[in-house]
């Protein structure tokens, strides 16, 4: 069979041969971790460091003797920033590669594309990226910050440093849409006023008319959950118009893909963000992590928050397997639901049994000279937004993404 396939496409065999080999040909006893990440395409700034992080994590697990005395093997696919490829590769992971768990997905769109496929195939799924919250699915675990952990503290902090009138610019897909609604809620909760909301498809790169429109409303603060490479031009055009000296900016996404290192200090300085991780965190665990990263990749340039949360996600799962003594889906879920917790570069992360989301630290930060300076740290924030709508202990068959309603 392998031979046939090779002769069918001899030219690509060298590159793809290994992937075509039937499962039996590989190490019998390896535990197989499947991942789907955008390592190329417009979201590769997010995906490539995540890919580096997962390799580091797997290497660490194997160096420590593997899991249950078995080595861990990574089966990774590059989804090329194409949402259609996610289901394609997810199906391949469960049908052909027979992986024990799937980690991955970056944009919320990609998560929703594969979550159902994995649920149907009874394959455990970890989504390790900050997102808009509200997904209630016993087959899946989430360790990224959600609006109640991030926006709830970012909004009052940013408003206290600017003023009550806020303009929102969001990416036009489920993340941006839902996050914008959360932002509006928190603005209202803090006696502020939302003076405008605009949504931008991910390929919009010309914000000239938008910048003029914002000025007609003269807000005190602009919050911009913009996503991807094209949206980066907003920050650049904003600075080019001289706006960064006039109206402060906050964002729930800026910097996740190391955007603050692409922008010049003049363009980026003063932007307010809130994340679970900053390279500037001076903790022994973070310093050790950065050392291991440097040993593997030379420098720390690529590290960003979702790379770290992806790394943490893998360790969370590994801890779950150790606790369960098995890679069996139900056994691992039960073990994880026992309030499992790990400590890593971004602090302590504990699984909330009710929602399968994580309780974690959040840091309020300001961009300064291409770095994220921590202004204030808030420890162990639970995912209260999802807790309000989702209870997997009572309703284990739930399979919805709840959206905030006004």
């Amino acid at each position: 069979m392998t031979l046939n396939r090779r002769s069918f496409l001899a030219s690509t065999a060298a590159a793809t041969g290994a992937l075509m080999m039937p499962a039996i040909a590989r190490a019998q006893d390896a535990i197989r971790v499947g991942t789907v990440l955008d390592v190329s395409g417009i979201f590769d700034a997010y995906g490539t460091p995540m890919d580096m992080a997962q390799r580091l994590a797997v290497q660490e697990i194997n160096d420590a003797g593997g899991l249950l005395d078995r080595p861990v093997e990574l089966v990774s696919y590059d989804t090329q920033s194409d949402m259609a490829l996610y289901t394609q590769y997810a199906q391949r992971l469960v049908r052909q590669d027979n992986v024990d768990v799937v980690h991955g997905g970056i944009l919320s769109a990609s998560r929703e594309a594969i979550r159902q496929t994995l649920r149907r195939a009874n394959t455990l799924y970890f989504y390790n990226v900050q997102y808009e919250g509200g997904v209630c699915d016993r087959n899946a675990f989430f360790n990224g910050v959600t609006p109640a952990q991030q926006a709830e503290v970012l909004v009052p902090w940013a408003m206290s440093r600017s003023g009550p009138r806020v303009y929102i610019l969001a990416a036009d897909y489920n993340y941006g849409q839902i996050t914008a609604r959360w932002l509006q809620k928190y603005i209202a909760d803090n006696d502020g006023e939302t003076v405008g909301v605009d949504f931008f498809p991910l390929d919009v790169a010309d914000f000239g008319s938008t910048i003029a429109r914002i000025q007609t409303e003269s807000p005190d603060l602009v919050i911009a959950p913009l996503v991807g490479g094209a949206h980066l031009s907003f920050f650049r055009q904003w600075a080019a118009a001289g706006m960064n000296d006039r109206i402060p900016l906050a964002s729930t996404t800026m910097g996740v893909g190391n955007e603050h290192k692409v922008l010049t200090p003049e363009e980026g300085n003063g932007m307010m963000v809130a994340y679970n991780y900053s390279q500037e965190l001076d903790t022994p665990l973070n310093n050790a992590f950065k050392e291991r990263w440097v040993a593997a990749y030379g420098d720390t340039d690529a590290i960003h928050e979702i790379a770290v949360s992806h790394y943490m996600g893998l360790h969370l799962w590994a801890e779950g397997v150790r606790a369960a003594g098995s890679v069996d889906r139900d056994a691992v879920i039960e073990a994880m639901e026992g309030g499992l917790s790990v400590e890593g570069p971004s602090g302590v992360m504990t699984i909330d049994p009710q929602t399968h989301h994580a309780t974690l630290d959040v840091h309020l930060m300001e961009v300064r000279d291409q770095k994220m300076e921590v202004a204030e740290s808030l420890s162990q924030r639970p995912p209260v937004d999802t807790q309000a709508v989702c209870n997997l202990t009572e309703n284990p068959d739930d399979n919805t993404q709840y959206e905030i309603e006004f």
Partner: protein, 288 residues
């Protein structure tokens, strides 16, 4: 009042950027009746040339206005010799080959420059109009595109090369009748078109983040502008850019940039349905 000025500047900027985006394509299409679908990637190449040059310490204006057009013009010359000269007279094949080239260039950009958004910062500070801040770079783009149009006009009107070019635009055999080999005219035209694309990409680079796939956003707009402009090069370019720029900005301000883009596209369909051979086939006939 201040807002009116701001909007006027944005509208002029939109028109100017359409002129810039389309000029290279228009020259090649006008002279050779070839649609170069790699035009967008030529622009991106211009952008990368600028960023690389600035990274090497070159003054940004030198990089944008001199280095980028030279690099892309040279590149155009090479691919014309390697690929397109074998395909003249086979219009659809030329289009397809240029499409292939565009895909190759995207792939090459990814392999060379990576897929991360890069860019340079605008060299001109923003300034205030009453209570509003405007991106000062907008004016630079408006100036560049006006100069560009005037330059094309001057070359077509005032030089011997322009005369030959006008002849070739009317009829392909006219140029050879004037004693010029069409082969050389095509080669030169293609290189000049490529250089103009490179210039456009370079000048827009500080405004728009550059990714390998950024060309796709340009080619569609350029394509539409050139076709809707019709047979006259300068008049067509200016009139089509003005119509679309106006429609685009009107809806961008009124609703959102996305609706502005869609309105531009709808306007193109309506316009081509009403004037199937472009604006200058009905108005401004016989102008350059």
């Amino acid at each position: 009042m201040d807002l009116a000025v701001v909007i006027l500047v944005e509208v002029l900027y939109a028109i100017a950027s359409l002129v810039l985006i389309s000029a290279g394509l228009a020259v090649v299409f006008g002279m050779m009746k070839v649609i170069n679908l790699a035009h967008g990637e030529f622009m991106v190449l211009g952008g990368y040339a600028t960023i690389t040059a600035v990274g090497l310490g070159v003054n940004i204006f030198v990089a944008m206005l001199i280095i980028a057009p030279l690099v892309v013009g040279l590149f155009g010359l090479i691919v014309e010799r390697l690929v397109f000269r074998h395909l003249y007279g086979r219009m659809i094949d030329t289009m397809l080959a240029s499409w292939g080239l565009s895909l190759m260039m995207i792939g090459a950009f990814k392999m060379i420059f990576g897929n991360t958004t890069t860019g340079v910062s605008g060299p001109i500070p923003g300034f205030a109009v009453g209570n509003y801040q405007i991106n000062g770079y907008n004016f630079f783009i408006i100036v560049v595109s006006v100069v560009l149009l005037l330059a094309i006009l001057a070359v077509l009107r005032g030089t011997r090369a322009g005369l030959v070019a006008r002849g070739a635009m009317q009829r392909a055999d006219m140029a050879s009748a004037l004693g010029h080999s069409p082969d050389r005219i095509y080669m030169t035209t293609f290189a000049i078109g490529a250089a103009l694309s490179g210039l456009a990409g370079a000048v827009l680079a500080p405004l728009v983040g550059l990714v390998p796939t950024a060309g796709a956003a340009f080619i569609a707009k350029a394509f539409i502008t050139v076709i809707a402009g019709g047979p006259s090069l300068v008049a067509g370019l200016a009139s089509a850019a003005a119509s679309f720029g106006l429609v685009n900005q009107f809806f961008s301000f009124l609703v959102s940039p996305v609706v502005g883009d869609v309105a531009l596209l709808v306007a193109a369909v309506v316009l081509l349905r009403l004037m199937p051979r472009g604006i200058t086939s009905r108005f401004l006939r016989g102008k350059l």
